[in-house]
């Protein structure tokens, strides 16, 4: 199954505190079906940032994807810091503050030939724009 040839698909790794990354994957697969080149990693109590950095490099390396996006949960936190450290050795862009709409966007668009920088901008905008509020007042307006 593993191949040393580079995979053209965009690799996706979600790296978070605790089991959030696994749960995000489960949730997005509930919406969009099973996904390949989509890995997850969690930092648990007692875990350290350097080991996590090594895990990130390993997971991304195992996908054999030329380009990668690493989604993390919180800017400045250990999963994000570990991902930042890994950039010395892997070809990836990190997007922090991961949410489900961002993952839906990347999984919808990653098959299309699109410039990675443009894709990153799309995903970030999707993440921000998807944060909405719903109030009782909105319901009566029909």
């Amino acid at each position: 199954m593993a191949t040393t040839e580079q995979n053209e698909t965009l690799g996706i790794l979600v790296c978070t505190h605790s089991s959030l990354a696994d749960s995000l994957k489960q949730a997005i697969e509930m919406l969009m079906g099973p996904q390949e080149n989509f890995e997850t990693l969690g930092l648990y109590e007692g875990g350290d940032v350097f080991s996590l950095c090594e895990e990130i490099k390993k997971q991304v390396g195992n996908m054999h994807t030329k380009k990668n996006l690493v989604f993390t949960d919180l800017f400045g936190a250990s999963p994000s810091n570990a991902a930042a450290m890994s950039l010395v050795d892997i070809d990836a862009v990190i997007i922090t503050g991961v949410n489900l709409p961002m993952l839906a966007e990347v999984l919808t668009l990653r098959g299309q030939q699109q410039d990675l920088n443009d894709l990153v901008i799309d995903i970030v905008n999707k993440g921000k724009d998807s944060i909405r509020t719903i109030t009782k007042e909105m319901l009566s307006k029909g």
Binding site: D48, V49, L74, G76, A77, S78, S80, N81
Partner: protein, 161 residues
């Protein structure tokens, strides 16, 4: 002034940003870590992680020993952050005027460590440093955030002899 002296081997991370900085109204973080201070990549990663309203410097242990008075006498609320109690011991030895309290937060598992709490693991060398701090009348306590349980080293040290 030094508001909190804390061992936390993840240095600046989520818990630090979301809780510790706010709980202690920290205005400046002084990271004392030889590895981070001498590695440009690590240094930039941790400086990037600092919230914009907070200042931060990263020093080697020797630089900290030479320059800590500046932060003690300053009016800003300073967090002294280091990975290991071994570094803390050196600082307490160099600056007896420091507030005699060391907070130990998350210190990750390593193969030669013992589990003190769910989040803190110490080597025998680190436990020895902590015992030396106790002998110097420094209170050493394990606590992640102020609303969580405090474990005094004095109360559990006999379990780790």
């Amino acid at each position: 002034m030094i508001t909190l002296i804390r061992c936390d081997d993840r240095l600046i991370h989520g818990q630090c940003i979301v809780r510790v900085l706010a709980d202690f109204k920290i205005e400046k973080i002084v990271i004392i870590d030889d590895i981070t201070a001498s590695n440009p990549v690590l240094k930039s990663v941790f400086l990037l992680a600092v919230p914009p309203q907070t200042k931060a410097v990263i020093l080697t242990t020797d630089e900290a020993k030479a320059n800590l008075r500046e932060f003690i006498e300053n009016n800003e609320h300073v967090l002294l952050l280091m990975r290991s109690p071994l570094v803390a011991l050196e600082l307490f030895k160099s600056y007896p005027e420091l507030k005699q309290e060391l907070n130990i937060g998350p210190i990750s598992y390593r193969p030669d460590t013992r589990k003190i709490t769910t989040y803190a693991y110490l080597t025998s060398e680190e436990m020895d440093a902590v015992n030396q701090l106790i002998e110097r009348r420094v209170r050493v306590y394990f606590n992640q955030t102020i609303d969580q349980k405090i474990i005094e080293w004095n109360e559990v040290r006999d379990l780790f002899k």
